[in-house]
Point group: D2
Chain length 371, copies 4
């Protein structure tokens, strides 16, 4: 293993990244060092880069490092780390997927079982770039995994392309559907058919959804979400107003709306539209709106009079990550997981990757360190 590795340094909103070398740290007991094999550009990375969320205002030191979705292989095991979170033996060289946040497991929020909402679960990502252990984002050659992360060994037969989206996008929608208790013979609407949406279509069908409707305006995405199991799509170029889309969803659901609607876009404007598409007694799963400081406007009587539940869902529990990885392994021959990543770039071309994904026609870019 090299003594140093590169980090694609994030210099601020819409600034270019630049690659700088840092020493590869030795892990403390319980920690790990991972060599990244593939790191995806997730929608929230774009939000940060664009400034939709003002990271600096939230305490994030600049320059810093971004990236959290991806996979890598273990290069250094800290003391006491002998097994993954499922109890399977771990060795240097093993490929893994890992949670990119670490709940403290001790605070009142964790104690109540809401480890996904632990207030300090992401504090390590806020530290200045030149502070040990440096490698705190996946847009880099290495990633330092503090103790207490969920961590699962990846079966050999799964390619990097297939598992790179597991630890964020796929697990996130697996968690959202689990919290919503989406079940057998229910109807599901997906607002957005990007990375989250295509995975959600597959997971909802696997849980027994009778009808999955995906809404998007990009033809490639509508094609892909159908390949992942969506029964119907609503093309925003054809249904170009909120009223038209709500009307279309109702047509497809016997006038009722969906049992479960998922917000997977990240624009506050779709919130009220999504509520209007939800059936009486239904559930609205809010996942995409992670950018702080953007207001949604809606009529609260719309959730009272229809008795709708809204579930804000952030991050996940370790079992969700385990279930998501198992889902990929079981369905890799049936579902086009490799098509979610539309483009692959060497880590050194990160600026090109961001620019092109920002234009909106790329579902998901993947960065390959050393690639």
């Amino acid at each position: 293993m090299a003594d140093t590795g590169a980090i694609a340094v994030f210099n601020g909103v819409r600034q270019p990244f630049d690659l700088r070398d840092f020493p590869v740290p030795d892990p403390t007991p319980g920690a790990l060092v991972i060599r990244m094999r593939m790191a995806n550009v997730c929608g929230s990375d774009l939000h940060y880069w664009r400034g939709d969320t003002d990271l600096a205002a939230r305490g994030f030191a600049l320059p810093g490092t971004l990236g959290h979705e991806g996979t890598g292989e273990i290069v250094k095991l800290g003391a006491c780390v002998t097994v993954d979170t499922a109890g399977q033996p771990l060795r240097e060289g093993d490929r893994v997927v890992f949670s990119y946040f670490h709940p403290c497991m001790r605070c009142p929020t964790c104690l109540k079982g809401h480890t996904n909402a632990c207030p300090v679960r992401q504090l390590d990502r806020m530290m200045p770039l030149d502070e040990w252990p440096y490698f705190r984002g996946t847009f880099a050659d290495y990633f330092y995994l503090f103790p207490n992360h969920g961590l699962f060994r990846v079966p050999d037969q799964l390619s990097d392309e297939v598992v790179a989206g597991v630890n964020c996008a796929l697990t996130q929608v697996v968690a959202g559907l689990d919290r919503a208790g989406q079940g057998f013979n229910e109807t599901v609407v997906l607002q957005g058919a990007g990375g989250l949406g295509v995975y959600a279509a597959a997971a909802a069908k696997a849980r027994g959804a009778s009808l999955v409707i995906a809404i998007d305006g990009i033809p490639e995405r509508l094609d892909l979400v159908r390949a992942f199991g969506a029964d119907e799509t609503v093309d925003m170029r054809e249904f170009d107003t909120s009223e038209a889309r709500v009307e279309r969803v109702k047509e497809l659901t016997d006038g009722l709306g969906a049992d479960v609607t998922m917000e997977l876009v990240g624009h506050p404007a779709v919130f009220a539209e999504g509520i209007a598409m939800t059936a009486p007694g239904g559930r609205y799963v809010e996942i995409g709106n992670v950018s702080v400081g953007r207001e949604a406007s809606f009529d609260p009587s719309s959730i009272v009079l229809k008795s709708i539940y809204i579930l804000g869902v952030v991050h996940y529990r370790w079992r969700d990550l385990k279930n998501a990885l198992a889902f990929v392994a079981q369905n890799v021959d049936r579902l086009p997981f490799d098509r979610v990543l539309s483009h692959t770039f060497p880590l050194g071309d990160i600026n090109e990757a961001f620019e092109r994904q920002n234009e909106g026609r790329i579902t998901r870019s993947a960065l390959v360190p050393g690639g």
Copy 2:
């Protein structure tokens, strides 16, 4: 029984009511005629009268009749009605509490178990005043109960004053806390200490809440909610900004916010404040905002990043009504149920009752037909 009875006719927004006589109908099989003994002025009646909700725009025929919270005695039993919803024998003369809406029990929404959100549950209230069976609101001498309502006989030892608030305000918060699953050793914030709030304080303590905090700005209400079990109150005259109130709730909850926050005010503006008072992983129960067409603005990332669930809760299931009545019977000696009604008026003085309650210092007025 008289052949005719008076209805306090609702003539439109902020118009005075006037009393008119109508023939008392004979019930069809499964239906009942009730002679009202006491009918309360609920917050939603005020919303309708003030025009916060535009009833006409929602299909409500004017002139019409209002009122739904209250109690009465059976004067005519339709064929096949021999027992109440708990299977207890019913006779003419029995005092009852009843659900003021009737789910169809047959539509997809009812089938899924969401009888409280049945789309047609209130259609009968929309009919023109001069259409049989006329008595469709409780601000009248009689009330016609269509088949399929929940209906429970009232124990003799409970006075009208004590049970008049059961079938709307008390049962509504009992249902809300049940949906939220509020449990043992949880903290609860009540936005509003009116009729809903005082009952909610009692019910939350009965379910094992370790701390109930009530927010209001009217001293009589703050006193009453303490008498119903609130451990702490936040006086809006002292904490006169949203930030100050959020700060105060956090102080009282070890910095976390409440496990369960209930919106019992009915102003869209309190929505975002309530979310801010809720702990990570907590639940926000939205009950008060029933007026259609008023917008709330909030940052959806606030529910994502804290993984908060919002439960829109309208109406209730019959077991909630049964539980609420049982709760009153068990606690009538311990809790000041008779203080919830601050003023009683003869039905003929309905206009004075509305004006005074509209001024805001009356917790709940009760109208007494023939009184």
Copy 3:
């Protein structure tokens, strides 16, 4: 329509049935008369005929009538019956599936939501044979449906063979899996691959089970349950002791046992074996043991120390019946629903049907009135 119809009269334990004619009744308001098209011999019918359950001791008048699983077409609609339980219009001639029990919807048990356990839900089946309306079992030309049954119109494209098992076996396991909350990536063991077992395999896979293991000793059943989606089978001829079967299930589940085990056999002896096959924190769904008076012996510490939940599940809610019918409609091209019925007999040959099914190699016999 004929004025009279035949009933296959049940004369007592292991006695032959004989056909007798009775007048076809006129339905009261809310009721229906159905002409049976196909009636299956369910395992519980066999239990009654064999005397595993002493019907007479439970208040069932003899001679009487048996049968409850099947489908038919409406020949007389009572007053007020215009739609099915999903609100779809009903006309004479429509084919329907229906619940074979009717909860009162009014007792404390129904009020709590346990309509499937209503104590009086089957009282009508106890009445003497010569009491109006006579047709209270499906082993007859007609079936009288009292008011308050769940009732769904059958899509035209589904054959009688395909839907005949919906209203008992299929819906029963749909209900059981729903109560158990069986979910995504869970392992399921089925004790028994008869009618209940084959349907359960399909439903569990549709809910996202990662592994379904079916246990039986009859090769035809093991074949069929694989065709319905079981991933693994345990052949009791090969694994011929309880210990061997428990061991085999553990081998297939990483040593843990199943997340959900279902008892679908109806022998008390399999109870303890099933508990032993269940993972720590898992659920045991007890459906098959409906014969009163047969004792199971087990060590209660086995459920304490592994924190196992046991769910006794009888009958179902109407939404389960609706979901089951929808499941058939959606999967009729993919799953061999028509193979569940292995043999069809004219109603007049009911004695032969019972004898042969009692021998155990027939999965399900169907009786065809007039056939």
Copy 4:
């Protein structure tokens, strides 16, 4: 702190304990050494001593050490231990309650959230007595707490007597009622009014039970359970058959039986009786039967036909322990927690304590090291 401490050595079934000295260990990182202040004789200790459970057959090395319920003060903090499980600062000298088992948090069972059923949660109690760190039972001067236990600082105002029963008996029933979801206006039957039963009465009332019925045959226990909130008692001296007790419970519950029945006795024979006392749709919480190898006999159709759920509940989650301690703190002035311990003995008199509690008229003995 002394260099050595005494352990009351368990030498085998119905053998006398003898005190032996062992060196006080230094804690590894994450671990703690506690000086015991009070250790209760729990029912399961009696089961082990009597041989109801054959510890040796289950892999427990003899001679060994027993005891798990109690409280103590920290004398040595391992590295990295700075706060308790609720995040409150910990110092040497702090009094604490602690979980007496430690789930691995990594195995499939823990991952699914069933940390209370982790298969290895009690392995450390099996080790030979002379193996470091020796102090693995609370019947000793010290207790060694391995990393990963739940641990909460005890408020100063609570006496040892009041908190000594928190970490086993009280938390166990708090956990059981939580799993059963016992709620507002439900009826509860307690089989047994020993330590578990008296706490269960208090907790059930605090969760809103409308009626708590306790069954026992010892007058002191019946008195105490009433003082803890039981509304009714069934004295086994008066109701001396299973049938009579079932009949009495039905009389008190409008013929239905209890919504929730709890088995808190630990005799297999009460299992079938408890099921018979449970309402249709009710839940049976099995806690007491922890002795392996004793058979219960029951009719499984009794849980099918009434759709009863049985919940085996062992141990608890850390939030249960936190909730239980908070419950004591909030109710210490209202409930006679100090009366649960009927007798206190110096640790050296452990043999007398066991003999007298074994006779059955002592609710709970407490051992005081150095006392």
